[in-house]
Symmetry: C2
Subunit: 401 residues, 2 copies
Amino acid sequence: MRYPNLLNADEIDKMKAKKTYSRADVGFVIPALPGMDESQIQTPCLVIDLDRFENNVRKMANELRPFNVTLRPHAKMHKSVDVARRQLEFDNTVGICCQKVSEAEVFSRAGITDILITNQVCDPSKISRLCGIAQSGCRVTVCVDDLNNVTALAEEARQQKTHLHCLVELDCGAGRCGVAAPTQVLELALAIDGFDSLTFDGLQAYQGSIQHEKSYKKREEVMVGVISQVNSSVASLRNAGLMCDVISGGGTGTFLLEAASGVYTEIQCGSYAFMDADYGQINNQAGQRLDQGQWENALFLLTSVMSTAKKGQAVCDAGLKVQSVDSGLPTIFNRDDIRYISCSDEHGVIEDIENKLEINDKLRLVPGHCDPTCNLHDWYVCIRSGKVESLWPVSARGKAW
Amino acid sequence: MRYPNLLNADEIDKMKAKKTYSRADVGFVIPALPGMDESQIQTPCLVIDLDRFENNVRKMANELRPFNVTLRPHAKMHKSVDVARRQLEFDNTVGICCQKVSEAEVFSRAGITDILITNQVCDPSKISRLCGIAQSGCRVTVCVDDLNNVTALAEEARQQKTHLHCLVELDCGAGRCGVAAPTQVLELALAIDGFDSLTFDGLQAYQGSIQHEKSYKKREEVMVGVISQVNSSVASLRNAGLMCDVISGGGTGTFLLEAASGVYTEIQCGSYAFMDADYGQINNQAGQRLDQGQWENALFLLTSVMSTAKKGQAVCDAGLKVQSVDSGLPTIFNRDDIRYISCSDEHGVIEDIENKLEINDKLRLVPGHCDPTCNLHDWYVCIRSGKVESLWPVSARGKAW
């Protein structure tokens, strides 16, 4: 089957005329066709409001212009080649971030030529596949926090006659991967620098655990410490004769702090492009919610009401299999009168005190957490002014290994 | 590409000899090849231990033999044609349950001829597709809790010159879809009975919210009330001249109570086939954990250690994108010395006080909740005695609409 975003209006009309592509058939393979009204989309399904999405992408490129940094948006959030291409249209955007080798394989085969894997790659098969991406002409950077891993990467790159760029991952408080002490950073950087098949590029310094802190002031306090830690590491590397061309980090909650730090060179936000309910409720420097003016909700989980058998509540068709609730339940967009109150595998329960909802009513949910929600879907249905404009495949959906 | 479970050993040997299918290529499309050791599987990935799975499936068929009930396993849990076929090998297993039209489409196209959708189908396109399944020769049953929906189902079935079976969904306390009062049940049953294109078969009566209650006694108390409610509805229908051929319900936490009730005719458990950490910790009648003797953990999320940079912990490659943590974090199979303590998008943090774990060590996680975890994966890697025996596609993965 051809992707429906490759079909033009004439072809769709022909299909409709021939009845080779009935509305029921569409429902089997894809949730919508270009030209449909939003009300005809098969739910539950992810919807991108294109005007809002394009505003977010443009705004991020513009917000970073005053600073001496480039943008490398994180594709782990959207997993879509179509989204990445639109992010890469801006001249200060240098490439993308991925989190897994299988994700990077999808994006590099789609023609994206500069990928940073913000993660460790340790399994021998994965290291072999990583070098395969570099061999195909993509500039590949990977993070390291282990000396034996540096040797394994170097050896495989040498055998495959290719080259990898490396960042030492600094643990700046997230407590996950990465080393914290400048001596460990130096030891790893020197090891990388000692191999012809590797280049030491600098540091990965992402503070992931502070991004969703509601208070801007608290985020700022933490980032002051992180920036000082990064500066110490850069200084100790410089003393040893190793220059950092790249200091990469920053998330939707903190990126202006990294951008203004003077030490970060590259910003790797992801969520700003779509937004979600969890990021929506944190505050910016002016004390406003992030979804009020800063970034627009551009991603929605479209759902239909399927039962109103009980007074005061409705049941919709969006449950745990179409969204991740790890960061809280979804909100209902532009509705203060009803509330999504609980979730099971295939159902959501909506409090509807005034019994306003009817069966087949459609609602736009704002997912609690965009990254793992996008990873559950095969398609983004892209709408503009209430009409389906195109369908974008979630190209790297499920690519976790 | 052909599915690897259609390849025999000779073909695999030929591919290996020709080097058309290198280990690195395998990693790109599939996580393993038949014949590999468990240690060679690309992680994170779902693994079925076939001996344990086959024991569970056989045991459920046998446990129900003393009772006057049939088994209709819920395919929403595994979403796999291969799993369903193995469940249907037993003579007291009459068909499968699905939760969505798109799921039912996958299973009916794979040749399964008796499907109950344990859910409401209300959208006009979905009703059209549902009738399409019936038209293709599959016996289709659907649940209803709304009079207008009954009319819509009847009208579309008539127009498509096909037939649907209907169960009235009884809300037995889960507070989701379904009607509770016998008068409402009767009204819906009479409406169904009034249409030539529909057959009133009986009741859907699944108490979903009690299944995971730890105490067997509490589950039993609740089910006594449910069974009494079902009996009342059956009696009021009988008084109106409507017989219930089917009373369908039961989950892994309660199925023996439904089976012994004398009123249920059909058991629709799902999780018993794979088990998960949440069901594992509830007690059976003898006060034993359900994963101790009753059902065996047959589904594992295989993960690899990717960072040991910090003392006392390791980081593994299984996070939120390969498992649902709505019902709690996974446990680590057969290991009391280490503990999975936190989860982010792509990482899991493992407490490892004695620093036993090394990079590339593989661990078997028992997922917290099997249904939404299976829905995240494209493949089950099926192993026996430490070797990959076959790969089964998660056939209806992502089919949510």
